[in-house]
């Protein structure tokens, strides 16, 4: 059986200068490769961690998978079906199965909408009529461990951890098989980070979800990922099981990243 998600030799290029500008400046190549020759797969129930610093191409790769940016080369297969080259209307169906959890939950929620409509919004976007959005919002809140009172809350009334939970509920609304989580714990207090990661783990066990976790936080990814890729300047410089990478890092860039993590022990 093929893996749920299979990415092969993916390449995403961005134009850095307009054509005229490129001619004027004599640029041979007015493009940059944000993602270059990237291959990996994600099995059902698995967590794959994508680690790299800002600008390394992690978020672009995530966005390419859900079709928000176009791939120039390579292939992305979901349940064996090729996604590269699909029209936007055809991609809608894919986005029901692959949900994205965005980086800054408070900023990604609309400030004037109550939690109730934030969670139910995907039903509107996907024009789903056979489910009662209100009932679904209640079910989803319960699933992420928030009581019903939060239905009437506005984003600014939520703590960082509560906003993350709403983000998880929203991502779960259409019963996806894969969740792409961009920096799921960035900006959270240490004690709350654990709560969110434990919640994600429980949901994975209960619902059989697969995760692609995008992060620059090595200590966090160590505890939640089965396998890892280290990304640098658009390329995977190293992939392996989490244990392999932490115990026997091979690439000098990985070594540098691991060495930079501050040791929480004054010696």
């Amino acid at each position: 059986m093929p893996d749920l998600l299979e990415v092969e030799h993916l390449r995403v290029r961005f134009r850095t200068a307009g054509l005229v500008q490129a001619l004027l400046k004599g640029l041979d190549d007015p493009f940059i490769d944000a993602v270059m020759d990237v291959s990996f797969s994600l099995a059902k129930g698995e967590t794959f961690g994508l680690v790299g610093e800002s600008g390394s191409g992690k978020t672009t790769l995530g966005r390419a998978i859900i079709g928000l940016v176009q791939a120039q080369e390579g292939s992305i297969k979901f349940e064996g079906k090729e996604l590269v080259g699909l029209k936007d209307s055809q991609y809608q169906e894919v986005r029901r199965n692959i949900a994205m959890m965005f980086q800054d939950p408070i900023a990604s929620l609309s400030p004037r909408k109550k939690v109730r409509s934030q969670i139910a919004e995907p039903f509107k976007i996907h024009n789903i009529k056979d489910k009662d959005p209100d009932q679904e919002a209640r079910r989803l809140l319960k699933l992420v461990g928030l009581h019903e009172g939060f239905l009437e809350a506005y984003p600014h009334q939520l703590s960082g951890g509560q906003a993350r939970r709403v983000g998880v509920a929203r991502a779960l609304s259409l019963d996806p098989k894969v969740i792409i989580a961009d920096e799921p714990t960035a900006g959270l207090d240490v004690s709350v980070q654990g709560e969110i990661l434990n919640l994600m783990n429980r949901l994975q066990r209960e619902l059989g979800l697969s995760y692609l976790i995008i992060t620059h936080n090595l200590p966090v990814v160590r505890h939640v990922s089965d396998r890892l890729a280290i990304m640098y300047l658009g390329r995977f410089v190293e992939t392996g099981t989490t244990t392999e990478i932490f115990e026997k890092p091979a690439h000098p860039y990985t070594l540098g990243l691991l060495a930079a993590v501050p040791e929480p022990d004054p010696g």
Partner: protein
């Protein structure tokens, strides 16, 4: 310890905010000292009162703030609470400098770096050329290559890490007695973060400046600080030197915070420890210990009255009945 050895000596500082729901008791009986040439770290989760504390030191509190009459903030022997307008101006940005999480809070996007740095020296009788020279030397010292030429560049022409270096250079231009760094590396990637921390260690040798370093990253506190203050819900719950805090933590909150840190857990496992429950409502405080609703070690005295600060030994103390009864 006499005040002359401490650049900053805060005694019994309490601050509340008037809100529609009543008085929100943001800081309660804070005692803290920053000794000469030492780096003191403040650890605490969001809402514990770090910003309120810093704003109190600079007398920059919101208009709805009420500072308790007993509060004393002694900075280089002078009571900040008694300072007039011109003294306060001298305090802010000259005797006390700040570095923020986002370098752009301190940088003006439409003025060149050289001009911004020269502006800081407005009170000094130096020629324009001398000020530029000082600015270039300071940039070089914080590791900006080609510093003379880069004086004419604008903030957006520098990377995030370089911008934070520039902010550090600006903060040091006035030779402050105290540098306050509020989460200065949170927005940076780990390799840049490591470089900035390394730079701060170097600078402390060269500048003889004391520092208050606010962070929720325990690893950074362990690497950089001499002394540590742990805050929870508006109180200092534990303080001591960095070794006492990391190796012999006494307060249950400190102990749990250390246990939660994924960076301190070496085995790969899927469920992480957490501190269950949430921070209490500061408008409606529990009658006993502030941590009692979440404390797994709670026993009879904890619900009756708030614990005082008890000495563990030396400069190490904790606000917990367990220490008294040990």
């Amino acid at each position: 310890m006499s005040t002359s050895e401490n650049v900053l000596d805060v005694r019994d500082l309490s601050v509340s905010f008037n809100t529609a729901r009543g008085s929100l008791r943001a800081l309660r009986h804070i005692d803290l000292k920053v000794p000469q040439n030492k780096i003191v770290g403040i650890v605490g989760e969001s809402g514990c009162g770090k910003s309120t504390l810093i704003n109190s030191l600079l007398r920059l509190l919101a208009p709805n703030a009420v500072v308790d009459d007993n509060s004393e903030i002694i900075f280089e022997g002078e009571d900040v609470m008694e300072m007039g307008k011109s003294d306060l101006q001298g305090l802010r940005g000259q005797r006390i400098s700040m570095i923020f999480q986002d370098p752009m809070t301190a940088l003006n996007p439409v003025i060149s770096i050289g001009a911004q740095m020269s502006d800081i020296l407005y009170r000094q009788k130096l020629t324009k050329a001398q000020k530029r020279e000082r600015a270039a030397a300071m940039l070089a010292q914080v590791g900006i290559p080609d510093s003379v030429r880069r004086l004419d560049d604008y903030p957006h022409q520098f990377s995030g890490g370089m911008r934070q270096r520039i902010c550090i250079a600006m903060a040091l231009m006035m030779n402050p007695s105290l540098l306050i760094a509020d989460e200065p590396t949170t927005a940076l990637d780990v390799t840049l973060e490591a470089q900035i921390i390394h730079l701060m260690k170097e600078l402390r040798e060269d500048f003889e400046c004391s520092m208050l370093f606010v962070s929720h990253n325990l690893g950074l506190i362990a690497e950089l600080c001499d002394e540590v203050i742990v805050m929870y819900a508006g109180e200092v719950v534990e303080q001591g030197n960095v070794h006492d805090l990391f190796h012999r933590a006494q307060h249950p909150y400190t102990q749990m915070l250390l246990e939660c840190d994924p960076a301190r857990i070496s085995e790969t496992r899927k469920d992480l420890p957490t501190i269950s429950g949430s921070v209490p409502d500061l408008v409606d405080l529990p009658q006993g210990c502030i941590f009692s609703p979440r404390c797994p070690k709670r026993y009879e005295p904890c619900n009756e009255s708030p614990p005082g600060t008890f000495e563990v030994g030396g400069q190490h103390s904790a606000r917990c009945f367990k220490v008294r009864d040990a």
